[in-house]
């Protein structure tokens, strides 16, 4: 599969004393849903900012869509990506939802006559169509994040980065955003790179990159990553709920399969109880 992001031997330091990234390498496949998982301070947000060109690389290389990132081509590379940040309040810049989605389009000099149709399409995609003329003060955190996503999607990025986009939201807001991420993943021209410490979200990814102390701890499928409970706990992470159930049952001598969904786990327990 074609690689849309290639990170090679990246070292980065904020203060020239302590390295936040100590030689990180990984690839992100085009059209995939890739998660970068790590505890606070693992370097996951730093790598996201480097990929987005918000920090300048010091050693190593990052290529996006086959082009090595440099100060010369950063503006061009950035046009193919969008980032949703952590704090919903820092991203809403206009006075209505409609104007907020329009902001990026105006910057890209989209024909004003075509703009309304584009805005409505993407507002619809994040279920915010009925809020187009509302002000940000009338919106919940999750709704503001959805508007941010619509504004970014309207610019048709090929790479969409979520930098802990759900961590400041309440449970309803978190679910809203996660559902949109999963829905967007059905579009195989869009690559989703999500930086998170939400292990339940990571369960749905195609590939997980686990960072610890500025290094890659492990890269693999959810099943490969979450089968290593001890290793993950040692680096301040945990395993998803369904894996915890499997672990607790294994402790009393009952073997269960790996499941991503509680519903599937219940089916297995039910069939066990029948036999």
């Amino acid at each position: 599969m074609k690689k849309i992001v290639e990170v090679k031997d990246v070292i980065f330091s904020y203060d020239n004393e302590h390295d936040a990234l100590k030689g990180v390498s990984f690839d992100v496949e085009e059209g995939s849903y890739t998660v970068i998982l790590g505890h606070n301070g693992s370097g996951k947000s730093t790598i996201a900012k480097l990929i987005a060109g918000l920090l300048a690389i010091k050693s190593g290389s990052i290529a996006v869509d086959g082009k090595l990132m440099s100060l010369e081509n950063i503006a061009e590379i950035r046009k193919m990506m969008g980032i949703v940040f952590q704090n919903p309040d820092n991203q809403f810049i206009a006075s209505t939802v409609r104007e907020d989605i329009a902001f990026g389009l105006e910057n890209y000099e989209v024909d004003p006559l075509k703009m309304d149709a584009i805005i409505e399409k993407y507002a619809g995609l994040v279920n915010m169509k009925e809020y187009l003329d509302k002000e940000p003060s009338n919106l919940s955190g999750g709704q503001k994040q959805r508007v941010a996503i619509a504004g970014i999607l309207a610019m048709r990025p090929r790479l969409l980065i979520f930098d802990e986009a759900t961590s400041m939201l309440d449970p309803t807001g978190k679910e809203e955003i996660k559902k949109i991420i999963y829905d967007l993943h059905t579009d195989d021209t869009l690559t989703i790179l999500s930086i998170t410490h939400d292990i339940e979200e990571a369960l749905k990814a195609d590939k997980i990159i686990v960072l610890n102390e500025g290094r890659v701890y492990k890269i693999g499928s959810p099943k490969e990553i979450f089968s290593d409970a001890k290793g993950l706990r040692d680096i301040g992470l945990d395993i998803p709920f369904t894996y915890k159930v499997k672990e607790a049952f294994a402790d009393v001598g009952i073997r269960l399969q790996e499941h991503n969904k509680v519903e599937d786990l219940v089916e297995e327990l039910w069939s066990l109880s029948k036999n």
């Binding site: 790590g38 505890h39 606070n40 301070g41 952590q86 919940s140 955190g141 802990e164 961590s167 400041m168 309440d170 449970p171 309803t172 807001g173 410490h197 292990i199 301040g236 992470l237 945990d238 709920f241 915890k244 159930v245 672990e247 607790a248 049952f249 402790d251 009393v252 001598g253 009952i254 509680v262 519903e263 786990l265 219940v266 327990l269 039910w270 066990l272 109880s273």
Partner: protein
């Protein structure tokens, strides 16, 4: 006991956009327990807890706390004494650090309440030890440490005041799983070993289920119910009607029940569930 009696709070009462954030709240919070205040964004949780150390004063009604009575419309003396007894840790409290060094920041609270410089430093050291920041942090700038460490320093600043009641507004928001677990472990220890009353506002119902004794549910500024935490999450209709996110083990038990597999009410951990399964299924 902390007692709210018919307490209402209205933001901007004389303005066209006035909002009733708390609507005739009657509520007892038991001392020595961990009480979780839950409810949707905008349900009045933060407004409620800001009454506990008189940051907000009621528009009508009364609050009795630690032997003080705060009554709407009456000037209350001794607010400072009350604030020494009730420590409030705000949401994203890490943004409130301001001193040059961490030790000075933590000692600021007790000094402000008239404790001697020497005693304040002693208390700051003790509080920093409780939150897990070792002496190598004393002289560092609060701006130079990680977000999780900043939040611990902010909490130490409240602990140094040695309050009887500790009120925490979303103390785990934005922390990673390990950070959140350590943070909650600290509050459980303060409750069990130092007998502090803990009142915690949170959206994380996994924490509520695992750590809280009691739950108070708010909706639209009104108290819907106050119950034992484990009893509360067994009330399926109540949870559904208020759109409350279930702790995963509760959801698992519900799904098993739907399949005709009954799990006893007193099973609250996966280890107990697995042991029950081994013995009965």
């Amino acid at each position: 006991m902390v007692t709210f009696k018919e307490l209402s709070y209205v933001y901007a009462p004389d303005m066209p956009y006035k909002t009733t954030a708390l609507d005739r709240v009657d509520l007892d919070i038991t001392e020595g327990k961990i009480t979780a205040i839950i409810g949707k964004t905008g349900s009045g949780k933060s407004t409620l807890v800001q009454h506990l150390n008189a940051l907000l004063l009621p528009t009508s009604g009364t609050l009795e706390i630690e032997g003080y009575t705060i009554k709407a419309g009456e000037k209350t003396s001794k607010l400072k004494e009350l604030r020494r007894k009730v420590g409030l840790v705000f949401q994203f409290s890490e943004y409130q650090l301001f001193e040059e060094t961490i030790i000075k920041d933590v000692a600021f609270g007790p000094k402000n309440f008239g404790v001697s410089e020497e005693e304040a430093l002693e208390r700051a050291k003790k509080a920093l030890e409780l939150v897990g920041l070792d002496p190598s942090y004393y002289q560092r700038s609060p701006l130079d440490i990680s977000g999780g460490q900043k939040r611990r320093a902010a909490i130490a600043g409240i602990l140094a005041i040695e309050p009887e009641i500790i009120v925490l507004d979303e103390p785990t928001a934005g922390l990673d799983p390990k950070g959140a677990k350590e943070m909650i472990g600290l509050f459980a220890m303060l409750n069990k070993k130092m007998h502090k009353t803990i009142i915690i506002v949170t959206h994380d119902n996994e924490i509520v289920y695992d750590f809280a004794d009691d739950v108070t549910l708010l909706d639209g500024g009104k108290v819907v119910c106050k119950m034992k935490a484990h009893d509360f999450f067994a009330e399926r209709e109540l949870l559904e009607s208020h759109d409350i996110y279930r702790p995963r083990i509760v959801y698992l038990k519900e799904l098993l029940k739907d399949k005709g597999i009954m799990i006893p009410d007193d099973i609250h951990t996966l280890a107990d569930l697995a042991a029950f399964w081994r013995d009965h299924e």
